[in-house]
Amino acid sequence: MRIIKLNNQIKKRFIFLIIIFVCFSSSIVLISYSLKDQIAYFVSPSELYQMKDLDDRYLRVGGLVKEGSLKFENNIWKFEIIDEENKSIKVEFSKTLPNLVEENKGIIVEGRILKENLFIAEIVLAKHDENYMPQSAIDKMQEDGIWRGN
């Protein structure tokens, strides 16, 4: 008799905890779903072109540095950011670039759109990916002909 009573109490406490947990997690899910545009750290160039009212809006654009576009002219860094859909935007930046900014590697720029297709960056961050490998592994893959990077 005592065991059955204990089981009921255990069940009650368990249901109580599940209710607490479900309430909190659903509120978190709703908050993060409604704020998903704010939580996203950057937009891609193709998302940028779909946005309206871009005048003087401070935002972040991210993608890869387009191959052959990184130049240093008149003390200004000029490059293009390209995304998976092959949309690109020209960027100008007048400070020192982070060490890891290279062509065909990830980058995030923070600033304003000056005019059609020209972005004036105030902050540039290098975004590296989740692949780590030594140079010897790359050499071996290039020998075998399975290397698909730059």
């Binding site: 255990i10 406490r13 368990f14 905890l17 607490i20 947990f21 909190f24 997690s25 978190i28 993060s32 998903k36 939580i39 996203a40 750290y41 950057f42 937009v43 891609s44 991210g62 670039l97 982070p98 060490n99 890891l100 290279e102 590697k105 995030i108 902050i123 540039v124 961050l125 290098a126 975004k127 590296h128 990916d129 989740e130 692949n131 780590y132 490998m133 030594p134 140079q135 010897s136 592994a137 790359i138």
Partner: protein
């Protein structure tokens, strides 16, 4: 877990602690040698080696929080004092691990991204995790009776479980400056096997350090309670 009293667990942990220390020292030395001998990353150079502290500490801070949450659920549902004591002893270790993650991460970020801190989803949710650890510890020590403190802190630990999938999947759900998952991801690890082995060795070394630390804190909590009880009896 319900049949084990805090005393027996404390005695058990004490009896195996010297083997844990021995294995931990071996693994720590082994992982240090491996990290020094490893070739640098082709893109990031030597700065990528901070990964072998950053990632194990990150895994452990998530693992410790899930242990804390599950033992809080067991403690609340089955009224088990052992579970409450486990989550009380494990919480400071998780806080230290999450601080290690934030500090090593911001050093690494400054070397590669070019900034110590940004408010992207991964970094912010990790900061929230360390604040929940801090709140858990503060709750544990803000009541006169430890049973009341255990109850309140356990509720916080269970609510905090919501944050774990957010930390883990933030890099997949939203665009972030932080890179995606390397090891636990769809399509297998994107890391060469020598790096992966080093990562696992350094994880187990840090894991054993946490176990050893946990057994010490657990022992201190149990002994303090014995002293307090005997004081009450002598009055």
């Amino acid at each position: 877990m319900f049949a084990i009293t805090p005393n027996t667990l404390s005695t058990f942990l004490n009896s195996i602690s010297k083997y844990i220390v021995l294995l931990m020292i071996l693994l720590l030395g082994f992982s240090a040698i491996l990290i020094i001998l490893l070739e640098n990353d082709y893109y990031q150079g030597v700065s990528f080696k901070i990964l072998f502290i950053h990632v194990p500490a990150a895994w452990l801070s998530l693992l410790i929080f899930s242990t804390m949450g599950i033992s809080s659920i067991i403690g609340l549902v089955f009224k088990s004092p052992t579970s409450f004591t486990i989550s009380r002893a494990i919480s400071p270790i998780g806080l230290i691990m999450s601080i290690i993650v934030l500090v090593t991460g911001s050093i690494w970020g400054n070397l590669t991204w070019g900034t110590y801190w940004v408010w992207d989803a991964r970094l912010t949710s990790m900061l929230i995790l360390s604040f929940i650890y801090l709140g858990h510890i503060l709750l544990l020590y803000s009541f006169d009776h430890f049973q009341k403190a255990d109850f309140a802190a356990s509720i916080l630990a269970i609510i905090g479980l919501v944050n774990l999938p957010i930390v883990k999947f933030s890099v997949d759900w939203w665009t972030t400056l932080h890179q995606g998952s390397t090891v636990f991801r769809v399509g297998g690890p994107s890391i060469t096997s020598d790096y992966l082995i080093t990562l696992l060795v350094s994880f187990f070394a840090l894991f054993l350090l946490c176990i050893y630390w946990f057994s010490n804190i657990f022992y201190i909590i149990i002994e303090n309670r014995k002293i307090e009880r005997s004081k009450l009896l002598n009055q």
